[in-house]
């Protein structure tokens, strides 16, 4: 049964990848990358069950944490063109 779940997740992964390649705007690609991250987390968990190695769940947790930080960082980069620059809120307070 885990194999069926893994196959379904792989299909979702392929479709998200297709959107990342097709996507007309950068935001489409980012949304696809976000979905790929979520599906990869689930796939890691399922592979852990499939091979009987629950350590894969730790990998899934770390991957999820990195995925969020990555998405926010790329968004900030496209908005300000620089990762070191503070956002609007920080400027207003200063």
């Amino acid at each position: 049964m885990f194999a069926a779940g893994a196959v379904a997740l792989l299909v979702a992964l392929a479709l998200a990848l297709a959107r990342a390649i097709l996507g007309p705007t950068v935001f489409d690609r980012l949304q696809a990358a976000n979905t790929v991250g979520t599906v990869a987390m689930l796939l890691l968990a399922v592979i852990g069950f499939l091979t009987g190695r629950p350590e894969f769940l730790d990998l899934a947790l770390v991957y999820g944490l990195l995925n969020v930080v990555g998405t926010i960082a790329v968004l900030k980069f496209f908005r300000y063109g620089d990762l070191g620059e503070p956002g609007d809120d920080a400027e207003r307070r200063a």
Binding site: A16, R19, P54, V68, T71, I72
Partner: protein
């Protein structure tokens, strides 16, 4: 592992996989960015939730279940945050949502 729990986790895993695939399909087929975001949220909520629930039923009461709950909480909180930031950034960049044309709206 007792059989009813096995069947229940089967159903959860297959339904979760189906919802993940449907979300992926929506990501390819939907006409504009904001509707695609809506389709992707199906994968984030129902797909992920059902798959994790199915795996939790398989694992029983153990450390694995705790880790699965952690993964679920991470998706539950981080997914909407990233989606919100993405939608705000797209709106700030001036990406217009696809709306019905003026003539169709005035006919109503």
């Amino acid at each position: 592992m007792s059989t009813p729990v096995d069947i229940l986790s089967w159903i959860c895993l297959v339904a979760g996989g189906a919802f993940c695939a449907i979300g992926g399909l929506g990501l390819v087929r939907m006409p504009d960015f904001y509707t695609r975001m809506h389709a992707a949220s199906v994968t984030d909520t129902l797909g992920a939730g059902l798959m994790l629930l199915g795996m939790m039923l398989q694992a029983g009461l153990s450390l694995i279940t705790v880790k699965l709950i952690m993964v679920g909480l991470l998706i539950f909180f981080a997914g909407p945050t990233a989606t919100h930031a993405l939608a705000k950034a797209a709106l700030a960049r001036g990406l217009e949502p696809l709306l019905a044309s003026e003539e169709e709206t005035s006919k109503r």
